[in-house]
Amino acid sequence: MPPKRSKSAKSSAGKKKKGGKTQSPTPPPPDHPEDIFPLVLTSATQELFGCRTDEDVTRENPYKLLKKDDIIQDMRMRATVSDFTPARQIVLDYPEEELLLVFDRDFTYGVSFYLVVTPEAKERMLKPPEPETQEEAETEINKTPEPKEWISLGSEQEVDEESVGQTREKALQYVRLQREVGKAVSFSDCSAADAKEHYLECASYQDSRFSITQMQRDCGTQAVPTLQSSSAQTHRKFLRNLAIQYVPRVFSKEEVESILQSESLNTFCSTVTSSVLLALQQEVITNVFFDELKALSTEEDGDWSGKVSKGLSLHQAFTDQMYSKHKSVGSVHWHPTIHGVIAVALKGKQEELLVRPAFIVFYSFSDPSNPQLLLECPDDIFAFDFCPSNPNIIVGGCSNGQVVLWDISTHVTYIQGTQPSSKKASVNIFDLDDDAVIKTPAVRHCAVSALESSHKAPITDVQWLPPTFEVTRLGAPVENLYNICVQVVTCSPDCTVMFWDVRKPKILSHMVTESNQNGDQTALNTPFVSEMFKHLDRTWKPLFRVSLPNIHSSGEYAPLKFSLEHYTCNSSTNAEHSDENEAKAEVTPEYSQLSAPSAKSGLRGLDDVNTKFYAGTDCGEIIYTDWKIEKDDSGHLYNSKPLLCFRTHHCSVNTIQRSPFFRDIVLTVGNCNFAIWKEEVMDGPIILSPNSEHECTAGCWSPTRPAVFFIGKEDGSIEVWNLLEKISEPMHVHAHITNTRITCIRAWTAAPKQHFLAVADDLGMLRIIEIPKTLYNPSRKESSNVQKRFGSETDRLQDYLKRGGLWEQGLNKQEAEKLKKEVESEKQKSKKLEVNRKLYSDFLALEESQLRHTGLQTHTIPRSAHIH
């Protein structure tokens, strides 16, 4: 397309057209082809030539042929004024007669008319109706694409492969007939279809003479199951034996008689008797099936393997920097129901001058480095105990003589290990910020005894009375209605053993409510205090006291530990009564709702409870006394004197424990030895160990083996004693279990294969030691063997005492004789002495006289130098 003209040119052209009269020729736009000459024609010229715009010449008919002569004439006439002047030369040169004048309405070249210069162009214009100016542009557009150079892209190879052509030269074979050798041969093409004789055609046709019978035919088969429906009917009922009752055949009396008379029976008897008698005698003589070898074995099968470890292996060690520093462990108890929880009472050592808060710390197996729960104590706790019927209640004895009660039922989840907060994800050891320490939950005590009615010395032993019986104010045992533990026994070196009742005392109920109101205010401040024992707080008084008057002299014993006999209720009592008990026992009431029964309540007295107990004093004596208070003639209540007292241990007694297998066997551990007592034997310990060089500080029976017990020593070693093997020395000594003295040992059975021993020492550390299999698997008949042993020991003791008595008598005689002899010899001695003295004094006198005689002596020898 020719480029657009500038607007200015257009507009000027437009002006021109409108004006029509202006003669100023516009310079022809440079973009017009050669054979066209734009021309401006005035209206006069237009009229002259008959090409007036829009009349003669329109858009549809823009062509006007003008005669050349006319144009020349016009040019002559008007000379320079003529419009054709610029095209004068063109016109003159024009070969033909007529020129084409094109009316350009669109002003393609800036003017309204243009003259076609060449005749070829004229032809072109006239013939094809399209304007000349467009023609060239279109031809340029519609040009056919020229063939390009072929670029080989590799397709020629494929084409070559596919094409069929000659791969080799034609092989020409000359066929020379024998007879015509040498003759010129000329080959020529011959088409097979041209001549008929060049091929033979066999067309197929139907021959009716024979036909091919089909011998084989492929066919398919399908098997179909033949179904046949049929029916049958059976009888519903068919006879079957449901039960068989039979009666043995017996002979009638006559038949029996007749048989007995028969001869054959007689012969039978005679023949058979001898062999039967022989067999019977054989049986009496010996038992042929008795296996002597097997009966010799005393041990179990598993002990023959030498791989079983004999030593006590350390399972875990518990200590805590914050709470157990500079403290020694006073007492240790396993939690009776929760697995792997152990409570440790820490007490300060005597050197401690600062008063630090005292705690009972609960450790759990799951978290050895941190205590799970703390029990706040008003003072150091020397002894504590879990309530057997409700393990959430703990009673403890303080060093100031008060008895303290805790209720941890709200915090039990901490020690059960279910609380996620008790398990720390990561503790930064180097974290110096104290606030980041995760606080162990602490439970405050919920009741303390009244200070004035408590012990005057530290409480050294606390135990719950078993739930099978309870005790009245006079110490008489009566039945326990609800089978829960309600009473606590404490002992202290202030020479008393006190019985306490945790229920609400009836008499003081109105006073208690007053103090409750006061107590409410303080209870609001401490959120963790349980409400269970509020009735006891600060007003708790003991039920009664047991004093231990000395047998031989005046004064009293100072008990450190005691041991009661555990009483199990006999079920052979009144069936009615036991039913009543059961009905009541289904609903175990809270302690605060229970009240101590009055003396006249209808509780049945239990006569077969053993009210006597063993107590160990701080002088090393073991006393066996009765706690029942008896009435004097004058109506005074007093405690009877102890039944027996033995000075077996030289220093304080630190453990008294009943054997878990035998009700009447007690182990007492004192300063340098230990003793085993049997309850009925009043003469002394049935077994007394030899004195050991180290102090024995703790003792514990094994819970599974009746003959084994553990003794803890001052140097941190544990001795394992087996009564069936040796009595004079321990079966095994495990040294260096702890670094300092062992203060407490407690054994516990966690699982049938896992038995633990908790060993507490003086540095506040608690070690859990696993007992090896040999020490917890009882040997065969161990219980009966041990009982036999104890029996033999008892006999030995009694025998010994008897002999001792005899011997003493003999000794007395001997001594009397000896005394006599001594007295005699002394007399003789004194006589001799006198004689000697006399001689000496004579000699002195002689010497004096001699000296005086010789004149050497100036003064007399003082007479005071006597021979004594």
């Binding site: 043995p248 055949r249 017996v250 002979f251 029996v256 048989i259 007995l260 008379q261 054959s264 029976l265 007689n266 039978f268 008897c269 005679s270 023949t271 058979v272 008797t273 062999s275 039967v276 008698l277 067999a279 019977l280 005698q281 049986e283 009496v284 038992n287 099936f289 008795f290």
Partner: protein, 96 residues
Amino acid sequence: MAEVEETLKRIQSQKGVQGIIIANSEGIPIKTTLDNSSTVQYAALIHQLVMKARSTIRDMDPQNDLTFLRVRSKKNEIMIAPDKDYFLIVIQNPSD
């Protein structure tokens, strides 16, 4: 008659004998020193046992025959003497 009584007496006098039963070949008791129910039970059960034992012995060797059977249990010993027509059962308590 006297023979039978004498036999019983002799056997009864041995140490540890608890009871004696004489039964016929079909297991019906003839004479006994125990009570009726025990007798009947013993006779019937032991009859079956004797039959089984005898057939066992004879199956293994047809020339062989059962002469005596002793059954020892925890609590006592039972001795059985079989014959063609009758068998004798003695129950004894072993000494140990």
